[in-house]
């Protein structure tokens, strides 16, 4: 489905712009300006408002980024469990820094705050799927799934 069809499918949901953004983002991995403008039209709000919504939430990105979004939890429980080492390992593996995307467009590295898997810290998610008790050793096989 192209992004216009996706957005249109949420038109009857009052306030459904966030659902629509999630749906488009699961395909495009970010929210291009055209998508924001289309959503504004469909949900009958000014573009400035739709842009305000898109830029408010951590899970949305208005800038292009890698296809597979790796998010490392940095909240206090994961922080004390060794999130910093996981960060270093991922930066090393992928050759990019936090906040960047790989040149081949395959991965984006971001921080996230708590994702609610605190029984198994440190935790990362890839495209929303949680990976538990992560450490430097387990990173390569996690990434392999997405290459």
């Amino acid at each position: 489905m192209d992004y216009k069809e996706i957005i249109a499918s949420y038109a009857d949901k009052p306030g459904g712009i966030i659902e629509a953004f999630h749906a488009v983002q699961s395909q495009l991995s970010y929210l291009p300006r055209e998508v924001i403008a289309e959503a504004a039209q469909v949900f009958k709000i000014p573009v400035s408002e739709a842009y305000g919504v898109a830029s408010f939430y951590s899970m949305f990105s208005i800038e292009a980024r890698g296809k597979n979004i790796i998010r490392i939890c940095e909240s206090a429980p994961c922080h004390v469990a060794g999130a910093a080492e996981v960060v270093q390992a991922l930066e090393r593996e992928l050759g990019i820094f936090m906040g960047e995307s790989t040149a081949d467009g395959l991965f984006a590295l971001e921080f996230t705050e708590c994702v609610g898997q605190c029984q198994s810290t440190p935790v990362i998610t890839v495209n929303g799927e949680p990976y538990l008790d992560v450490n430097a050793a387990t990173i390569p096989q996690i990434l392999a799934k997405y290459r």
Binding site: H22, V53, S58, E74, P77, G116
Partner: protein, 407 residues
């Protein structure tokens, strides 16, 4: 001596959460039937008598809140479940939704009947896509079975904003706006979602209702501490042997949680501090461990029951570093609407980073305390009001740790 007692998690591990027949076989939806046989006033009175108080952090009397919405005159009313669960260290609501979603639906339906609502929303955080799937399936099954009657439930997704755990910010988010809290009054039970009377309750709060209706308000009110009866699900993280969850009556003490249920501190280390209630909770030293976990008891020691997260730190932990990380959390999560929080959380984070990196001085501590005093009473919502607490309580109880970094 408290034992684990499962009320909201009574079906955990005993049923297939994706089979409504399992839930019904366990007696599911009998409570809703009973509720619907009562008058709305009687039902609300029953919930009031049980003294069930909100399990999301605010601790407001559930029945009391419902009575405001019931009394509000409107054709349209809403029941909203706060499943945003953004509090670091907390995953109790995920446990309930993943393992017994029907309990949540039944609880919401009981509320809907009580206040006269036909539409409900579960606002589930965007970081839980698997949970959203489960909820969608559960609703599908409940609808097909006809148990919800004329009450419709829809799942809405969050998108990564801790502030959306605040009820008015959550409402703004369902409405498709930026998740920025509204000033109160008006309160949601009189003017909430799309301006209509709305009840916003936490997952765990709703999940208690079927048992309360089945076993009676008096039964519930007699469990745990009278001012905050029932059970609470706690999730233990950090330096703890049993990094898992427990549901215990509210008269359990913190010490019991950590040592009896939690199995104590790993590798024979000594206890240093525990942060209860989530990332805006107070850091509690050893001297206060015999406090019962109930809401008012915690308030009395300047702490919060909050979401029930139990984050334990052992003697080796750099508590200033932990507090600095938490300060960074609040800077990131502040919605930015009100000046003291927007600027204050950033300043706290900046000062804590300085101290943590060894560039702080004593005047920084005075400045942090000033920010704490001001933000805790003047910010627009609970996020800003509570944000300074981890820093302030660690300065209070662990001043030596700060001094070590400063001097």
């Amino acid at each position: 001596m408290a034992e684990e007692m499962r009320i909201v998690l009574r079906n955990y591990g005993k049923i297939d959460p994706l089979k409504i027949e399992d839930y019904i076989a366990q007696g599911g939806y009998k409570a809703l039937e009973k509720a619907r046989s009562m008058s709305q006033q009687d039902l609300i009175a029953e919930v009031k008598i049980s003294n069930l108080r909100g399990r999301g952090g605010a601790g407001f009397n559930c029945g009391q809140k419902w009575s405001f919405a019931y009394g509000a005159k409107s054709d349209v009313k809403y029941v909203v479940c706060n499943a945003d669960e953004g509090e670091p260290g907390t995953y109790k609501d995920r446990l309930i939704m993943e393992n017994d979603p029907q309990a949540l639906l039944e609880g919401m339906s009981i509320c809907a009947y009580a206040i006269g609502a036909k539409q409900g929303y579960i606002y589930c955080r965007g970081e839980y896509p698997q949970v959203i799937d489960i909820l969608d399936k559960a609703i599908e099954q409940a609808t097909a079975k006809g148990v919800l009657g004329d009450f419709n439930i829809e799942v809405r997704s969050g998108a990564g904003a801790y502030v959306c755990g605040e009820e008015t910010a959550l409402i703004e988010s369902i409405e498709g706006s930026r998740g920025e809290p509204r000033f109160k009054p008006p309160y949601p039970p009189s003017q909430g979602l799309w301006g209509k009377p709305t009840i916003v309750n936490n997952v765990e709060t709703f999940a208690n209702l079927p048992a309360i209706l089945e076993n009676g308000a008096d039964w519930y009110a007699s469990i745990g501490v009278a001012s905050y009866p029932g059970t609470k699900v706690f999730t233990l993280t950090g330096d703890i042997n049993n990094r898992t969850f427990f549901e215990v009556p509210t008269n359990t003490t913190i010490r019991e949680l950590i040592y009896k249920f939690g199995g104590g501190i790993p590798a024979g280390k000594k206890f240093k501090a525990v942060q209860i209630g989530g990332t805006s909770g107070a850091f509690i030293p050893e001297s206060q461990l015999d406090t019962p976990v109930a809401f008012d008891n915690m308030s009395a020691i300047g702490a919060t029951l909050g979401s029930g997260a139990v984050f334990v730190l052992d003697e080796t932990r750099d508590i200033v570093d932990v507090a600095a990380r938490i300060a960074g959390f609040f800077e990131h999560e502040s919605c930015g609407k009100c000046a003291p929080c927007r600027e204050g959380t950033a300043r706290i984070a900046e000062i804590m980073e300085n101290i943590n990196d060894g560039f702080g001085d004593l005047s920084d501590l005075a400045l942090l305390k000033k920010l704490g005093r001001v933000m805790s009473v003047s910010c627009l919502c609970g996020l800003g009001q509570a944000a300074p607490a981890p820093v302030i309580t660690t300065i209070e109880h662990f001043l030596a740790d700060y001094q070590a970094k400063i001097l």
